[in-house]
């Protein structure tokens, strides 16, 4: 049991993995001009563990050994709160971009642990042991773990077996004595290019005919047959004057193909038990939406903070409408933050694991997601049109242009041109660029979209009690 250093992390990624970028195989993800940024960003996790400032939050001491707090299974609301704080702290270091290389993996490990227990209680003890072993493996080696859940799905109105071809959902194509062979592909797999292991979970509840699709497992990312086709979204070359966030912080998503991949028995966590497929998917999501809201907090801090700082630089902080808009941003942040803290405080203990209050978590997530674009609108409003019409980095240094830029781009007292432009560029990068678009789409889709959150909230809310109250007062 030992923590990895950032350097060990980076070198461990040179393992022959099949990552493709713009159609070409990537020899070394750590030095790739785009993926390398994502690797450096992810290394933040390992840096924080070494940083005295974060050590207590980030590292669990277990006797003489140490391991990352992410791998600590929460037993009560306080544990959940610390986990939430760590996720937020890491994202804050990531300049509003989540790190995620342990967050999502441990969400899946918690869920697997619970479902393994349940299956054991129901007479299927073998999975529990395998899961526990895999959990120790990840924890003790301090691994980065991604989760591939969303199947490519084909026609979204149809189930796995009704599609044009049978591989639109990942499935077992062969069952062998020593393991299984799987085929299919998952989308939106975050941080896969720079994780050590990939956990595969079913994306939804399965029916009787979907037995081959009720499958969960984990394999090293460099397993033969695993192909990662990375998305180029937002990957143009950037300087950190114009793009103070995205020039240095990046997360990769892949189309993750399982081209007849062999998974040894000990890494198979679900193999045809259709009754547990939906439950596993859902249990993962119960943890993962809590993670999601936790990592959104720095983004909301930044919207309020950048809105305030930009308004100040522009000299409009005292205008009435500006206060009104800033108050809206403050209330937005405060509401989401308050709800997620409350979700931790009102967790339930299931199979010995503290599960964040599912209703509150979903309501928090919904509130975040539903109001995000409006908050973006407000921040863009406060910052002004220069977000998309401002000068370039080089315009501040070139002989031909710098005097003009320095003279004319100044703002309120105390805000010279460079200072003001840096603040406006922050807002531009955050809200009005590829990165801004990335965050908008994440707000809408990541960890389940609007409809998923609403469905979950509907199910969790206690309509029975409130309807009984209404009936009592109505006298029926």
């Amino acid at each position: 049991m030992a923590l990895m250093t950032p350097e060990q992390y980076k070198s461990s990624l040179r393992d022959g993995r099949a990552v493709f970028y713009r159609g070409e195989k990537v020899n070394d993800v750590t030095t790739h001009p785009v993926i390398g940024i994502a690797v450096a960003h992810a290394a933040l996790d390992y840096r924080m563990a070494e940083d005295a400032k974060y050590r207590e939050l980030a590292v669990i001491k277990d006797g003489g050994a140490e391991y990352s707090r992410y791998y600590y299974i929460p037993r009560n609301g306080g544990d959940l709160r610390k986990r939430s704080d760590l996720i937020a702290a890491a994202t804050r270091e990531g300049a509003t971009l989540v790190v995620l290389i342990k967050e999502i993996g441990t969400d899946a490990l918690y869920a697997l642990t619970m479902i393994g227990d349940r299956m054991a209680a129901a007479g299927k003890p073998e999975y529990r042991e395998r899961i526990a072993k895999f959990y120790r493996h990840c924890r003790d080696k301090d691994l980065a773990v991604c989760v591939a859940q969303t199947d490519v799905k084909g026609d979204r109105a149809l189930g796995p077996t009704q599609q044009d071809h049978p591989d639109y959902y990942v499935r077992i194509v062969e069952e062998r004595a020593d393991g299984i062979v799987v085929r299919g592909a998952k989308v939106h797999t975050s941080v896969s290019t720079n994780s050590h292991e990939v956990i595969v979970l079913p994306t939804r509840a399965m029916k009787a005919e979907d037995k081959a699709y009720a499958v969960a497992f984990a394999v090293p990312v460099n397993t033969p047959g695993v192909k990662l086709i990375a998305s180029p979204h937002g990957a143009s070359h950037k300087n950190d004057f114009e793009h103070p966030i995205s020039a240095k912080h990046k997360m990769m998503e892949t189309l993750t193909v399982f081209d007849d991949v062999f998974v040894p028995k000990e890494r198979v966590f679900l193999q045809g038990e259709i009754d547990y497929a939906g439950l596993l998917a859902l249990t993962f999501v119960r943890f993962h939406r809590f993670t999601a809201v936790s990592y959104k907090l720095p983004l909301l801090e930044m919207l309020a903070g950048a809105g305030y700082a930009a308004a100040e630089a522009n000299g409009i902080l005292r205008a009435n409408h500006v206060r009104d808009k800033l108050t809206h941003l403050a209330a937005y942040h405060t509401t989401v933050r308050g709800l997620i803290a409350h979700a931790a405080a009102t967790c339930t203990i299931e199979e010995g694991v503290a599960v964040p209050n599912t209703l509150i978590t979903n309501v928090a997530k919904y509130h975040f997601a539903h109001n995000y674009h409006q908050a973006v609108q407000i921040v863009q409003d406060l910052a002004g049109g220069l977000l998309v019409t401002g000068p370039a980095h080089e315009d501040l240094t070139s002989e031909a242009t710098r005097n003009y830029v320095l003279k004319y781009m100044g703002g309120a007292k105390g805000f010279d041109a460079e200072k003001r432009l840096r603040l406006l560029n922050l807002v531009s990068d955050l809200t009005s660029s590829d990165y801004g678009g990335y965050q908008e789409v994440l707000a809408v889709h990541a960890e389940g979209g609007f409809e998923a959150e609403k469905l979950q909230a509907y199910r969790e809310y206690d309509f029975k009690t409130v309807a009984a109250y209404a009936r009592k007062i109505a006298g029926v």
Copy 2:
């Protein structure tokens, strides 16, 4: 120290108080056709204290003595939570209408206690003693106490001394050795017609020229010169089939006139200390908005519950848009409830008193207020046009009409005409009637309107930290 019974409460109100209803002096508020309903509603407080179901929540045992929990000064988050629960429970018994005869008075007493301590620390010890004595008087006699805070204000763009006449804000007109004489009027004084004592607080911060207006005190409601002119809003005769809430539950508001009222020294709590006027006003509000959100919870339960029950009665529960709307109501309730619980949990201890987190409380209140009308719209949408076109109570019993009504007003299986109409009438009373309008206006104005809540949230939110974060990432 003894709890009052409901009967003692009622008879204690026959004390010669000067209450006017539609221009006429009311001889006995307890038997008045309108105010009597409010008295009966208020008596709920005393009934709950006797009710085994609520006894533990409602009553504090202090050695051999007992007193109402409302009079228990909260020392930690748990105390605040219990207070919140009690307020909600009483309002639930009140069929969504707050009881308020101790809630608001104790909000003021907590604030006075804290400000008394502060003034004592600043070298003005006399108020602390008077306040403590008055507090024990109210607690030990189990009194109903109202608070008159909002001055009539005249032209709202002008301060107290700039008005057409000097009495638009309550002021001291004479300072005597044994006390003061006050003149002026307050509006929106809730439950005054049926309280024992009225506490008067300043409505805002005062300037140097406003010394005479920096005044706080308490007097019995039947003090000579105190005149209560009651509002007739929503006071038409109602049957409880058509008005299941408002036929039995009512709160009175008055224009509360102080026509040269003498207040003895021991009842004067602020006399010209302009620096404490605004602070006292604000401190009261810090407690009172927490009370407010607490008593809104049953209203939000009812909106969700009545919306659900009405949709069920109409047979539309499975429609997609109906689920969507119900989810919205559920999220609305859950958000406000979660935030207020969080406000208790994150209270601060000031002068030994637990003060609910002011930022969270204001954000909760704002969320409640801002979204109330939309929730009403949803419930009206789910219930249907019969809210305002349905038959009368008598139509279900008259020979001439009942067969038609019983035959044609039925709904989904299990919902005969009477059952369905009762549910729809509940929604009608709740949302589409004088009572519905009353609740809408309360949502907007009670305990400070939108702008007050926004201002408070703006001030409490930590812009400094988030702006520093933005600047750090921007590199400035």
Copy 3:
């Protein structure tokens, strides 16, 4: 062909009609304390025709004869615009309450005329003649005509034949040589208590098994077997100080029962032609939503005007947030008004009749309905808590109270207590009372609710063209 006088109108309503109010048969609707207000309100229509100020707008001269413009079948956008202007003018006279005794009936007559033509073209010529004759009857006698469309429906998830009993939708129970016998009941029938004729239309498209339910006809309101059970909503006694609108203006809705009513052949307009049932329902609605938006305009003027006047009386007109809120009200009114004018200008001519642009009309209606409650919230915000806590009419005249009220209820310069209270009472009546609730429910439900408007807008919008544009730019 002659116009009726207001007096003739009133006396014509004493015709033995079976109107029930609170279980009792009403002998004379014109003198009934509640329905009499609705009669007086409706008589506005006849008064306007006599009023020089409105004569040109309200009356069509056809050679020597004259008839109400409502009965003029629109042939172009200008005709629709004048009709819209007349509806708005009448509603403005009605203090924001629509008059409706000709508006709705002629909406139905236009639709019947068009469907009669279509059925004639399809080989069913008899209806066209009957409809034309009935149209001339109504026009030439200047009759008040209501429309009963919404069936009681029972379980709204089930069709007419699937219900607990077969009469949840109005149906033909006997077909005779000289006519038909109908049974069933309609809800929400506005102005039926004081109309001369009632037109019955199907409420939805019918299937093969619903043949008996595909029925349309018209009968005099006093026809044997027609029973009107009036709703008591908002019918408490009111003075016009506290209720400047609703003390004098009222519309009645009834549960309209057809208890085996015989309809002679010449008054039957649809008898089993299931293919035309839905079309007729829809065609009526295409006109009726245009009427609806037209009559909402004075309500929106009033929200903006009352909001402005109340803010002025309170002395807050110059506050920034007040301007913001007033601008919102102005934009709301302007948007709805602009769209409905545009709907007239872009009408289509079908069967020689000018039909308002259905897409624009539905979008206008949706915009109105969707934003109404928020506008109410704003006006309540601007007016203040006195909306529900202000003094009574008698408090201004009673010796005991008037000096207090006159002294303390004053507002900004130029607004003494009475003036200010009258303005606030206007807002209270408009938004925070039974009448306010009535308008809210009408906004949501009248002329088809949210879902109906959305469905219609979805169908009418040209997705084909815009999707083709998207595909072209996408290169597919």
Copy 4:
């Protein structure tokens, strides 16, 4: 008088103009990798004039001569409507990006023409003649004309003379017999890199002390001292598979510096007449917001169309929530389109020029701007997470990846991987990229932000009439 060809347009831009990109002087804007795209986009204007499909709309025949319709001064609502249609058609060709090289310039020319007339009527005839001459020059040479209005402003809370240096607003530094010398800079100058002339207008009303700042004029873009510092926003290299819009369509904005530029008398249109500065600014905006809403229509068509097409490709078109969201997009587009048509139809004729209804135009603009981000959210919701996680162009052609992409990225029947990805990439480019951010910021800021639109709507709305109506009904 002759129309320019696209080729003539391009070659005419090689005129020695001082354009800077990333600190370097650009030798030839037409071949510059970034600005060249903007030139090609702008050339659409000249191509449309040659295109038989658009000729009638785009070209005015005046005797034997022809000129662009943009230069036709509107005399009635029909003219405005055609202008609006032309602007929309050009933007549609521009794949949702406005062309603007004549739209904005003629907005300014209309305003200058009107103000010139007014000044002549007020005894200052010289400007009228100069303006008319300049107008003919632009029209007869078929020139591209940009407008520089927004001053850099420095501290936005301060006026021109209160700033840290006097040049934060463009001002006259020398008045000579033959002209004036101007200094200062303007921001957000669209299409300046590829226009022939730049018109400079004041940005706001001026006070007595601001005389030097009350200046308007026009100069060729290549005038000595005019320096254009181009913004690099969104200028990374793009392929048209991933960026079907922005790979081929671009608009440039510049910081436009006037470094002691000499303007000859005949090109000076305002020289110290402070009373006309605000009026000129406002009159320009009255036309320009009409232009703005006109060019937003294809964007709104595209949101609805792309949302529909993407939902179809994903196989979710029949889901209830999808219909709901599409209806919202349809209503949004329909409302804005309807209002702008109505603004043309209800124009006023001032100084012989048809001015679009200012209230309606501002309300339309506000409705567009206020709801834009929500519409983006909806389209992102319908399209799915692949917007930011999808594969690259090269992944569809590379041996290593194409089979996986083709197999797994397919959607609903009829939508193979390429077709579906092209549709999703369209949505990504439109909403979730630099271009999406650009459109968001334009929605908020271009042609005046939220507060400007609200202020204008507040001023134009007839509060007097609606308040009088309220007072009448209130009886005051």
